[in-house]
């Protein structure tokens, strides 16, 4: 029986309303007043592996990935697998760097990525630069997240709502949701991530697997029926260059932990074990979810209705397979993923504004620090919401530009964690040179430079950035006091039992000590 348009819209929008209501109930029931800024910013490092795993996934895979990954698989074939691969390698990177990052965080009460920079390089200036790069780079992606909800609501209305109205509905809904993010800080983000994550990635995976089975049995499609171009990733003779796929995966892996919202996840765990257990728990789900999504896109590319509009593949398949009910459920999983991603980004921006920018210039007690973070979150939410309602012609270009820029933090971050010789001058110079060069190259060669063999602007700039960093480390070695401080810092995580005096001495001599 074919339902009328209003009936179909009631079904899809009711499912969205029910989910939204459930999220609010979860948040209301979980509310706990924060006792310190550490409590507000990183939930007092109190979460175990289960929460950590789901919180990471909910920040890592935004709701738009349902559309982006299926769309990429429909249009570009197996190249879309680069996302699952770099996402898994990012977890490997997390596994190997967690020991030092978490331990330093616990010992020195670090709350953000710039806090780590301040401790490692004894430089508040570099922490501020890192913080600004993270916040500025994140805004275009937040705006894209808000705008993505416009696509969601237009699809759920089956075209009855125009694009502008759909964006406004999405922006209003997400802005309302941020009330609880601002009120509850990190605790609210992580607890809601658990619920949203179960819906988005466990519920989403079940829908994806069901759709794959439906495509195989109802339409008789198979991967062997795909065209050779869909089964080939850019190789040695590819027009985009032989190193293009390497570039995508490499910048994805090293860039993953440069995002403030992702990095702060390392400080919400109650132990190193919880972070690493979360990696082991989350990786199989991430693998299943993302690989199945690509395979769904590949199979769906054989349907003319889907191939005609790759970006809407997710909604088209859901509607074809299960009518308004499955379309509504498909919308719920997208909304769940988007909420987790937007919440995480808004919270991390607020924490960095209070901790690393305002806190660098003013001595803030707990209440003032939390208030600064809340005002920062509100400002970021309102700015992103407002920008989402505007027509920004180069928004996607800006987002790509910001990604090429933020990966420049990878050099001081990873070399700072794994190598003792890097210094503040090298980290500042390298990051600034890399950031400017990445933006210059991306602007000059938006489709990639022909002479670069497929290396993207961000990767090319990373090479220069790393050369500057290493050059400064070699030519400008640490003074004796700084060398001792860095050696002591590393010794704390190398299996030696540290004395409280040693910890206190490092904290006292570093800029962290001044703000702790």
């Amino acid at each position: 029986m074919r339902r009328s348009m209003p009936t179909r819209m009631i079904i899809t929008f009711s499912l969205i309303a029910l989910f939204f209501l459930a999220v609010i109930v979860v948040l209301q029931r979980a509310h706990v007043s924060d006792k310190s800024f550490t409590d507000y910013a990183v939930a007092d490092r109190s979460f175990g592996a289960g929460y950590q795993a789901m919180s990471f996934l909910n920040t890592w895979w935004p709701g738009s990935i349902f559309l982006a990954l299926t769309g990429l698989a429909v249009s570009d074939g197996v190249t879309a697998f680069y996302m699952p691969i770099y996402s898994l390698l990012t977890v490997v990177l997390m596994y190997v760097m967690t020991d030092r990052v978490w331990l330093w965080g616990k010992l020195f009460d670090l709350k953000t990525q710039p806090d780590l920079f301040a401790l490692r390089y004894n430089s508040r200036a570099f922490a501020i630069i890192g913080s600004l790069v993270g916040i500025i780079s994140g805004v275009p992606w937040l705006v894209l997240g808000f705008k993505g909800l416009g696509v969601l609501f237009q699809a759920l209305s089956l075209g009855a709502i125009d694009a502008t109205s759909a964006v406004i509905i999405g922006v209003v809904l997400m802005a309302i949701r941020q009330f609880w993010t601002i009120r509850m800080g990190m605790r609210g983000v992580v607890i809601s991530d658990m619920f949203q994550g179960i819906v988005a990635y466990i519920g989403g995976s079940l829908i994806i697997l069901g759709l794959i089975v439906w495509l195989i049995y109802s339409h008789g499609v198979s991967v062997t029926a795909l065209s050779p171009t869909h089964l080939e990733a850019p190789g040695f003779f590819a027009a985009v260059g032989p190193l293009y796929l390497f570039s995508l995966i490499f910048s994805g892996v090293v860039g993953g932990w440069c995002w403030p919202a992702t990095f702060i996840r390392l400080y919400t765990a109650d132990s190193v074990r919880s972070v690493q257990r979360a990696g082991a728990m989350g990786a199989p789900l991430s693998l299943l979810f993302s690989v199945a999504l690509v395979i769904l896109g590949l199979l769906a590319s054989l349907l003319p209705e889907v191939a005609a509009a790759p970006d809407l593949a997710w909604f088209t398949i859901c509607r074809m397979a299960g009518g308004p009910l499955l379309l509504g459920l498909g919308g719920v999983v997208v909304l769940a993923g988007t909420m987790g991603n937007v919440d995480g980004n808004v919270q991390a921006c607020g924490a960095q504004i209070a901790n690393d920018i305002v806190g660098a210039y003013f001595k803030l007690d707990h209440k003032r620090a939390v208030l600064s973070a809340k005002i920062g979150m509100l400002a970021v939410t309102l700015l992103s919401a407002w920008l989402a309602t505007r027509t920004i012609s180069h928004l996607v270009t800006l987002a790509i530009l910001s990604y090429q820029g933020i990966v420049q933090l990878a050099v001081p971050q990873y070399l700072g964690i794994f190598w003792k010789r890097g210094n503040a001058i090298g980290s500042i110079l390298g990051t600034v040179v890399g950031f400017v060069l990445a933006i210059f190259l991306q602007t000059m060669y938006p489709d990639g430079a022909a002479w670069a063999w497929g290396l993207t602007s961000g990767v090319l700039a990373l090479v220069v950035n790393a050369a500057v960093y290493v050059g400064c480390a070699v030519l400008l070695p640490h003074a004796d006091a700084e060398r001792r401080r860095v050696n002591d810092l590393f010794a704390l995580t190398e299996g030696h039992l540290a004395s409280p005096n040693a910890v206190a001495a490092i904290a006292f001599h570093s800029v962290i000590g001044n703000n702790a």
Binding site: Y95, W102, L231, P500
Partner: protein, 86 residues
């Protein structure tokens, strides 16, 4: 000092080798130039799909092995990171 974190002992060499293999198979261009192609077919599936799905499973397995190994060798049970006297 019960609230102080634990310090891990060095990880097993074979886990590091496995992690390095993950990175090599994903990032060394000649590997994907050869493997991410439609042919040959392996068990009836295109080589590129077998390569990417197999690589994803390999990386996931390495994470599970690393965690299992850390638990087995008691890496998470090292008592405290900070001793009471300097």
């Amino acid at each position: 000092m019960t609230n102080m974190p634990t310090v891990l002992r060095p990880r097993s060499a074979y886990i590091w080798i496995w992690f390095a293999l993950d990175a090599f198979l994903a990032l060394f261009p000649p590997v994907y130039w050869v493997a991410a192609q439609p042919k040959p077919k392996i068990f009836g599936f295109p080589c590129s799909i077998v390569y990417f799905v197999g690589l994803g499973i390999l990386i996931t397995a390495s994470l599970l092995a690393a965690y299992w190994d850390d638990e087995r060798r008691g890496a998470f049970k090292v008592p405290v990171a900070v001793k009471n006297k300097p």
